[in-house]
């Protein structure tokens, strides 16, 4: 058997009940959306802001937050740092949940949800469409993640034979599990290109959108691994995994430097540096966002910072906010469809997103307490 263990703790706790309550409230609004009055009944979406927080948070940011499995797979299987292996299975689980619920968010937001399958029919495919790449690639990745997580199930039910066969071909799925997020996470950035002038000039970097998007996805992916491992250690009384996390800090630091240098370099190349200091809300959001990217570089550069658990956690939180801010700013906050249109999410809209997040956390707790997910012994 593997070195992973089922966390023998009660599932029904007070925090769990709280999450359940939030989810139940969101169910009411989902009923409103799918049965009573359509999206208009629960959201502030309009003709200019066709995409609100369901797309931008649940899909664009939610899947980036679910890039932990992707970032760690690169570390373990491409850079061959086997010592991070113990973090792999929980990271795959959060990726699976994040992507599956991102997929659910997309379905929820889909205007013609009853014919969602049309995107899977090859004769409909428009190969010029970035959205086609995103849709098909995300759907495939959810399948891959399910296969990557399958060993946890197979161990639990004791199906050794199936487990052995799966392990023989798993390398193929691992390779796909690295390729696919590279593709669709960069494409999420490419979606901004077709929006043209509606995207604020500070965020409309045209050809550089996919590069900046994939870098931000990697930063968020590594950050979420650090963040979750720290939380798991504290909240679920697990062994300290900090010794493992310190090395990740080093990788993240260079990703951050790359992102900031490219981001500023592109703006300079496109002659837009002046806009940073032009005043106005776009400048402000840009400066706050860049501060969130730059601050963790310094936090991680302080000698010994890598070994300081709380400093590492602060840096990780900073980077999660930085990556989320980058995507929120570009897609929603500074997005300007033209005169006459404004958008702020309605309470039901926010409740539905909170409900999806609650469901995600509840499922995570359920799986780590029912399946061998977390690493048992002190790491090898």
């Amino acid at each position: 058997m593997s070195a992973h263990k089922v966390l023998r703790q009660r599932l029904i706790t007070f925090p769990f009940m709280l999450l359940l309550a939030i989810f139940l409230v969101s169910l009411y609004f989902m009923y409103q959306r799918f049965v009573v009055g359509g999206m208009g009944a629960v959201s502030n979406l309009n003709g200019g802001f066709a995409w609100g927080i369901w797309v931008v948070y649940d899909v664009v940011i939610g899947t980036a937050l679910a890039c932990g499995g992707y970032a760690l797979a690169i570390t373990v299987y491409v850079m061959n740092r086997g010592q991070y292996h113990p973090l792999m299975r929980p990271a795959i689980l959060t990726s699976l949940l994040g992507y599956a619920l991102g997929g659910f968010g997309a379905f929820f937001d889909m205007g013609k949800f009853w014919q969602f399958y049309e995107i899977f029919l090859p004769w409909n495919w428009n190969f010029n469409s970035v959205m086609l790449e995103v849709g098909l690639c995300v759907a495939t990745y959810i399948l891959i993640l399910t296969i990557e997580f399958a060993p946890a199930f197979l161990e639990r039910i004791g199906s050794k034979k199936l487990l052995r066969s799966l392990n023989k071909v798993l390398f193929l799925f691992i390779a796909l599990g690295i390729l696919l997020p590279t593709m669709h996470q960069s494409s999420l950035g490419s979606l901004l290109i077709s929006m043209g002038h509606k995207v604020d000039p500070l965020w409309q970097t045209w050809h550089f959108q996919p590069l900046l998007a994939i870098l931000s996805a990697l930063i968020m992916g590594f950050s979420i691994v650090v963040f979750e491992a720290s939380l798991t250690t504290a909240g679920l009384h697990q062994d300290d995994e900090n010794t493992l996390l310190v090395g990740l800090g080093r990788i993240i630091k260079w990703l951050l430097v790359a992102f900031v240098v490219i981001r500023i370099g592109v703006l300079a190349g496109q002659g837009k540096l002046g806009l940073i200091f032009a005043g106005g809300s776009s400048s402000l959001f840009f400066i706050v966002e860049m501060a969130l990217f730059i601050l963790p570089i310094f936090l991680l550069m302080v000698p010994g910072a890598n070994r300081n658990a709380s400093q590492l956690l602060v840096a990780a939180v900073c980077m999660l906010f930085a990556g989320a801010a980058y995507r929120f700013d570009a897609f929603l906050i500074t997005f300007n469809p033209g005169p006459g249109y404004t958008y702020f999410p309605s309470a039901p809209e926010i409740m539905i997103t909170l409900g999806i997040i609650s469901l995600e956390i509840m499922l995570y707790l359920f799986f780590v307490k029912k399946l061998p997910v977390l690493h048992g012994a002190k790491h090898a």
């Binding site: 409909n124 010029n128 390398f171 691992i174 390779a175 002038h197 469809p337």
Partner: protein, 326 residues
């Protein structure tokens, strides 16, 4: 080969491929369809009667917007799932001088511009937005639409609109009165809005003829008298004489983002009429250049997958006892 070297080679190779392919295959703006049909809206001729709005609703079987039993008339403020064509008012100061910037007013039409290089067509994952190869008309096909609304965000003019207030809603837009069941253009008629326009503010015709007419008006001197056609620019129903206003020397839609088949001219600068700040290159052409550079024949993903499979296999083989992902 050492793994590190292999990775370097693979990354370098992919980067070089991306750059060279990108240079070679940059997708230019699409060209207008050979027999493109369109409309010319001359804001200086529009008197704001909204006959075009009413006719549009009749042709497309739409209900009045923002009306109730006390105010039964249509008072649509903007495009919506029930309004594919709307007349908006420009006002400045006291709003007493027609077609003047200072203390002036004028009317501006909003409807699908039928872009030559349409963002909606490029963005739609299921080919539910199409540009007719012959007429250049941009049409919507709800049967394959999933309602992702990428067409809405990719439209520079916010034209496609979704029925948010229906559980089973759909995308709606102007299809130049040529959708199946209407087919006015195919039957040799003109668009509903151009047919009913009393002043010829909305003029129907081929893009070429309309562009020629617009260019002619650009050369007219303010104050002289010009004979304006009504209906179809090539075979006008009737003509009327009017003093030429002080036109802005700008034909909106001649070049913006690759051009449009519905073009506008006006005496008020277009940015003040709410037109978007567009460059000549279409966003669709940039987006497709990037997409086809990265995904042409799936060559780059295939190379990357081969490299990844090799590396992952190597790195999982030596710890077989641990069993890959377990």
């Amino acid at each position: 080969m050492e793994r590190r070297d292999f990775l370097k080679a693979a990354l370098g190779g992919s980067a070089a491929a991306v750059c060279s392919v990108g240079m070679a295959q940059a997708r230019p703006n699409l060209e207008p369809a050979e027999e493109a049909v369109g409309m010319l809206f001359d804001s200086t001729l529009c008197v704001g009667c909204k006959a075009c709005v009413a006719k549009c609703k009749e042709v497309n079987s739409r209900v009045p917007a923002h009306s109730d039993p006390d105010n039964p008339w249509d008072s649509a403020r903007d495009l919506s799932a029930d309004t594919f064509n709307v007349i908006k008012v420009y006002r400045s100061g006291k709003a007493v001088n027609k077609d003047r910037i200072k203390d002036g007013f004028c009317f501006e039409k909003r409807s699908c511009m039928h872009c030559v290089d349409p963002g909606c067509v490029s963005a739609c994952p299921t080919t539910s937005m199409r540009r007719d190869p012959k007429t250049g008309i941009v049409t919507h096909h709800p049967d394959s639409c999933i309602g992702c609304r990428n067409c809405m965000v990719a439209c520079p003019y916010n034209v496609p609109q979704f029925d948010y207030n229906k559980v089973f809603g759909s995308i709606h837009k102007c299809q130049m009165c040529n959708q199946s069941g209407v087919e006015r253009i195919n039957n040799g008629q003109m668009t509903g809005c151009a047919e009913v326009c009393p002043t010829g503010a909305t003029l129907f015709g081929s893009r070429k003829a309309l562009l020629a007419e617009a260019k002619r008006r650009m050369t007219l001197k303010s104050g002289e008298v010009y004979t304006y056609p009504r209906g179809d620019v090539s075979k006008p129903d009737s003509m009327h004489e009017k003093t030429v206003p002080n036109y802005q020397k700008h034909i909106w839609g001649e070049k913006e983002a690759g051009g449009t088949n519905v073009m506008h001219i006006s005496a008020i600068p277009f940015d003040q009429l709410g037109m978007p700040p567009l460059e000549e290159r279409s966003a669709a052409s940039v987006s497709e250049t990037v997409q086809h550079t990265l995904y042409s024949y799936l060559a780059l993903p295939a190379i990357a997958l081969a490299g990844l499979t090799y590396v992952v296999k190597r790195n999982t083989d030596h710890d077989d006892d641990e069993g890959g992902m377990s």
